[in-house]
């Protein structure tokens, strides 16, 4: 009973964080902030949801598999965000501050 309540709490929290991530993805002004929003919330949401799910299993093989998935996600997802941001930077994309800064100089 306690486990179930705890698990529900985790799942709802996880869903909430994913949701904020999505809002960030849409509302943030430039590429880097958007990647930031998506990747940070993604990690915490994954942790919460998988823990929530583990609490619902009978702690056997399924729980171990879920843990494996968690480790895998924690390895790959930030790496993917990192690679995205880095190649965007490499490709010449500027951050918001940088794009504004030279404009001011032009005006001056």
């Amino acid at each position: 009973m306690i486990l179930e309540t705890l698990s529900t709490l985790f799942l709802v929290l996880g869903a909430f964080f994913s949701f904020t991530g999505v809002i960030g993805l849409f509302k943030f002004p430039d590429f880097f902030t958007r990647v930031h929003a998506a990747s940070v919330t993604d990690s915490i949401a994954t942790i919460l949801i998988i823990f929530g799910l583990i609490l619902r299993t009978d702690f056997g093989l399924v729980a171990v598999k879920l843990l494996f998935i968690l480790i895998f996600m924690l390895l790959t997802s930030p790496t993917a965000s990192h690679a995205l941001a880095k190649s965007a930077r490499h490709g010449g994309l500027l951050t918001l501050a940088e794009t504004r800064a030279p404009k001011k100089e032009d005006n001056d």
Binding site: F72, L75, T76, A83, K86, H90
Partner: protein, 325 residues
């Protein structure tokens, strides 16, 4: 509840498909296609087709998308506006769609256990296959034994595709000077990739040999193993990858896989059974079935791995060539 999830996912699919129609940026189109595949994989899970979902996620969303992106790198990412009159396609689609809706009016209700499809043929697979084949995964039983000839055809299709792509694009040469063309500056990526690639191959082996008990099998395993090498090629560069897994070897492997499969079938001729009748492979029919299924799944896995990887090599070799020029 399942119906509600189904409806939401279908709605998302519809939006994705509509977006694809109107977008002119092909890069976005391909990405949306990847999303479309993942969403349909979710629908497959929701409709109890876990094996299909697994395949769709690894093939539709994985391999197809990678190949499409590889093609876009060579052909440019903008679709030009067409001056085709859009009326005729609309008319054709309208008529076809109307015919389908008309046909759907007499369809058996969705999910009803009394539908003809669930009353004839299929019950035997559900009730008897665990005894006749001895495997808990009915999909594997049907795929590898009852309808093994379809699967042999499927392997032949993959082999034919590999032949087609090789004849069109050719394989990259191996003995070229190994230039470091990978993502050298991406240190994090390289470290993580090196961590993940062995795990992926391990997972592929698990899927290959655990397919009898859970979702998975030769096809999915082959694709996952190929994906591991593709990741290697993406991060460390194609020349490095061709050093590890040589293109010529792949050609041999693809051919061998088909031969293993068909050879298993032919072996039964000489043991007194029909083509692909594994009952003869051991003294006990169920044991024979098991041996047969492991063998043919191995054949499928090898061919799919080799074919998918050589197709990727062919595309990547083209991209590399244009980069150098």
């Amino acid at each position: 509840m399942a119906e509600f999830i189904d409806l939401v996912l279908l709605g998302m699919l519809a939006i994705t498909a509509l977006r694809v129609i109107f977008l002119k940026d092909l890069f976005a189109v391909v990405m949306l296609f990847g999303i479309y595949s993942f969403l349909s994989a979710l629908i497959f899970v929701n409709l109890d087709a876990v094996d299909v979902a697994f395949t769709e996620a690894s093939v539709g969303a994985g391999i197809s998308t990678v190949l499409m992106l590889g093609t876009l790198a060579l052909t440019g990412r903008k679709e030009k506006t067409s001056n085709h009159p859009a009326l005729l396609p609309l008319l054709v689609v309208g008529v076809t769609g109307a015919a389908l809706i008309y046909g759907s009016l007499d369809m058996p209700p969705f999910g009803d256990p009394n539908n003809p499809a669930h009353q004839h043929v299929a019950p035997r697979y559900i009730e008897d296959s665990p005894q006749e084949i001895g495997l808990p995964n009915m999909v594997t039983s049907v795929l590898a034994s009852y309808r093994a000839f379809d699967t042999l055809g499927e392997t032949a299709v993959v082999f034919a595709a590999a032949i087609g792509v090789l004849s069109l694009l050719g394989l990259p040469k191996r003995d070229r000077q190994a230039i470091e063309s990978g993502l050298k500056s991406h240190l994090v990526l390289r470290v993580v990739a090196k961590l993940i690639i062995p795990l992926t191959i391990l997972f592929a082996l698990y899927v290959q040999f655990h397919g009898d008990y859970g979702p998975g099998g030769g096809f999915q395993a082959g694709v996952i193993a190929a994906a591991a090498i593709i990741l290697y090629a993406l991060v460390l560069g194609l020349p490095m990858a061709t050093h590890v897994v040589q293109p010529a070897l792949l050609k041999t492997l693809a051919a061998l896989g088909v031969l293993i499969y068909a050879g298993t079938g032919v072996a039964n001729f000489f043991l007194g059974g029909n083509f692909l009748d594994y009952n003869m492979l051991a003294s006990d029919p169920v044991a024979g079935q098991h041996i047969g299924i492991i063998l043919i799944e191995l054949g499928v896995g090898i061919t799919v791995f080799a074919a998918m990887l050589s197709i990727f090599y062919a595309f990547a070799g083209q991209a590399e060539r244009t980069n150098i020029q």
